[in-house]
């Protein structure tokens, strides 16, 4: 069991929400998450806004606590770690390098901050480590005394990554690490993350709405819908043969920049439901193209072992592969 970096068992997270008439309601952001991430593996977490993926990240970072269930980090419950100890183990990289870096600090100070907070080394050592990290993430040496406003978006994201890695964490949580960046820069950050994860043997959780990014970096993928994981498995497997109709729709929604691509027919008409009033039975049934009476009545159990899914009518595989490999041509 010690080879698993992260284990979540039956994790839920409820938020009390007040309504206009003073009635208390409960928003169930996570509804029983089971998840295992092996050491050195990258898990891609995908789903639409409101599906709970950021709540999940906050729990892993210790910013939020689970309402119930168990979160194990390297075999120990996350609540058993002290704040600094946890920070030495798990680090985040956020979406927007414009707001996640203090504009009044130099690059060097920003990168060294985690060491300073934990009281590691003296300032000369911290400065040296910061320069090493800057080199590791491909920041030119002359930039270490600059301020964030003097950097491009890609360079800022490199600073954020260097800062996350300086304390030698085992686990990196990347929440939409490239979404705020331009296309030509995004690819450099993806190359960097890919190089670092193998060089440093990092375990990575990659949260993204961009399936092309997840496909590119993740070993495993978990698809979330309304606080539940509806499909998970090895990324190559899930992308080639999605079993859950929601995963299939997400895959079809990827528009490759190629001549002759047609807009996909997703067969998802209704809107994403409110997490305050999740639909009965399978939460996806009002939007599902294969749903029937059973789906509205009873929530599907998790099925399958390595590649698992929650669906009463899983897709057969085979023909769905077309969704990803050969974009429909006109």
């Amino acid at each position: 069991m010690t080879s698993d970096a992260l284990i979540m068992r039956g994790v839920t997270r409820d938020y009390p929400v007040g309504t206009a008439f003073g009635r208390k309601q409960t928003l169930r952001a996570l509804r029983g998450i089971d998840l295992t991430v092996g050491k050195g593996r990258t898990l891609g977490l995908v789903g639409e806004s409101g599906c709970g993926k950021s709540t999940l990240a906050k729990i892993l970072l210790g910013v939020e606590q689970a309402s119930s269930g168990e979160v194990l980090v390297e075999g120990r419950p996350i609540s058993g770690y002290g704040r600094l100890e946890r920070a030495g183990l798990i680090q985040p990289v956020f979406q927007d390098p414009y707001s996640s870096l203090n504009p009044r600090m130099t690059v060097e100070t920003l990168i060294a901050a985690p060491l300073a907070v934990r009281g590691i080394g003296d300032s000369a050592l911290r400065r040296r480590r910061a320069r090493e990290m800057a080199a590791l993430v491909g920041l030119p040496d002359h930039l270490v005394s600059s301020y964030p406003s003097q950097l491009s978006g890609g360079q800022r994201q490199r600073v954020a990554i260097a800062r996350a890695l300086i304390g030698e964490p085992r686990i990196l949580i990347c929440d939409e690490p490239t979404s705020a960046l331009d296309v030509s820069v995004q690819s450099q950050i993806l190359n960097l993350l890919h190089r670092l994860k193998s060089e440093l043997d990092l375990t990575m959780i990659l949260i993204s709405h961009n399936l092309a990014v997840v496909h590119h970096l993740a070993d495993e993928v978990a698809v979330m819908y309304l606080g539940q994981i509806v499909e998970s498995g090895p990324s190559a497997e899930v992308f080639a043969r999605p079993r859950h109709p929601y995963t299939e729709a997400l895959l079809k929604a990827v528009l490759p920049p190629r001549a002759g691509v047609r807009l996909p027919e997703l067969g998802l008409e209704a809107e994403f439901p409110s997490p305050l009033r999740p639909p009965s039975g399978c939460a996806f049934h009002p939007r599902c193209r294969v749903a029937d009476g059973l789906c509205a009545e009873r929530a599907p159990e998790r099925d399958g072992t390595n590649h698992s899914f929650r669906c009463h009518h899983p897709l057969g595989g085979g023909d769905q592969a077309a969704a990803m490999t050969t974009p429909e041509t006109a």
Partner: protein, 343 residues
């Protein structure tokens, strides 16, 4: 056959800042025909949004636009008076913004905002205007449109708000709609629905659509023609198939090779990128604007600004290289990228 709906020639926007002048838009020519979707593509800072705003006459006050002409159905609107603009905007040209939460007024009901637009431009009774609003909300796929009229923007989901924005843009049956990143703030599954909606409406009404986006996938799905912008200039134009299938400008080529495509790029494969950063847009140009980031750069490229070259009807490129992508050595990109990483 009608003439084009929109003709923009030699558009330029200068912004004086602290004694110097920024030139975010240097040279933009653009033609949009009836029923045509033209996508303006480029990364942040390329001038695409300012181009849209100047066509709409909505530039910030500090900006100084100039142009040979901006014609809407033959009428030069570049020098239209504020009074004339009030008639044009919302009636003959409409705009769809990226973020419907900030573009809709949070203090007014959906119905009131829609009725106001109609009553501004048409002599129409309040109840007729409401009926028209309901009709359009229904058309853009808003469920239970009558009930929505009395709702406020915050009561709707992001996808519904964007549908409301589209319905508002279409209220007066404009000839031209400019959509600035209309799906960027939306989830991928909603994005597909909204793009489909825009395309269907355009086919039905024959409006000219200018789609501004950084997402080449979105472009591939809906555009007829593509205008690629870099550093305030149009660097390449052509049909969607031409530009995506056989890009001529090294910038377009660089963009396309930096996007991972599931099923084409292998997992973890090193992706291409464009070394360097977008240069600051001030002063006059003394060379090709892409010079420093171009792996194919030659001595001539530094000689002066490069003019756009017409390869065929509607197909142009601002580059001195022979217009034959097959003759280029893609190994140059890799070498160029390695130099960047090493330096």
């Amino acid at each position: 056959m009608d003439g084009p709906i929109l003709e923009v020639a030699g558009l330029r926007v200068d912004i004086p800042v602290d004694g110097s002048t920024l030139r975010p838009v240097r040279r933009v020519d653009l033609t949009v025909g009836r029923g045509e979707t033209v996508a303006i593509v480029g990364e942040s800072g390329c001038g695409k949004s300012l181009t849209a705003l100047s066509i709409m006459g909505l530039l910030p006050r500090s900006a100084r636009p100039s142009s040979d002409h901006v014609r809407l159905k033959g009428e030069d609107i570049s020098k239209a008076s504020p009074r004339r603009w009030r008639k044009l905007r919302g009636d003959r040209i409409a705009m769809i913004f990226q973020d419907p939460m900030t573009a809709l007024d949070p203090c007014y009901r959906i119905g009131d905002q829609m009725v106001e637009i109609l009553r501004q431009h048409r002599s129409i009774s309040r109840s007729d205007a409401q009926a028209r609003a309901v009709e359009l909300l229904g058309k853009v796929g808003v469920p239970t449109p009558e009930e929505r009229l009395s709702q406020f923007p915050h009561q709707l989901s992001g996808g519904l708000r964007q549908r409301v924005m589209i319905a508002m843009a279409l209220l007066c049956e404009p000839e031209l709609v400019i959509a600035d990143e209309p799906t960027t703030a939306l989830d991928v599954t909603i994005q597909a629905q909204i793009l489909r909606l825009l395309r269907d409406i355009q086919r039905e009404t024959g409006i000219g659509l200018v789609l501004i986006t950084h997402d080449l996938g979105v472009v591939a799905g809906v555009a007829d023609r593509i205008v690629v912008m870099y550093g305030g200039e149009v660097v390449e134009t052509g049909t969607c198939d031409e530009v995506l299938g056989a890009p001529l400008h090294p910038y377009t080529e660089g963009l396309l090779r930096s996007i991972p495509v599931p099923g084409e790029t292998r997992q973890g494969e090193r992706l291409g990128f464009i070394p360097g950063v977008v240069p600051r847009q001030s002063g006059e140009q003394t060379s090709c604007g892409f010079l420093k980031r171009c792996p194919y750069a030659m001595a001539e490229c530094a000689g002066g600004p490069v003019a756009i070259r017409d390869i065929a009807h509607g197909r142009g490129v601002r580059c001195l290289l022979p217009p034959d992508p097959g003759a280029r050595d893609p190994g140059l990109w890799t070498r160029f990228e390695t130099e960047e990483v090493a330096s």
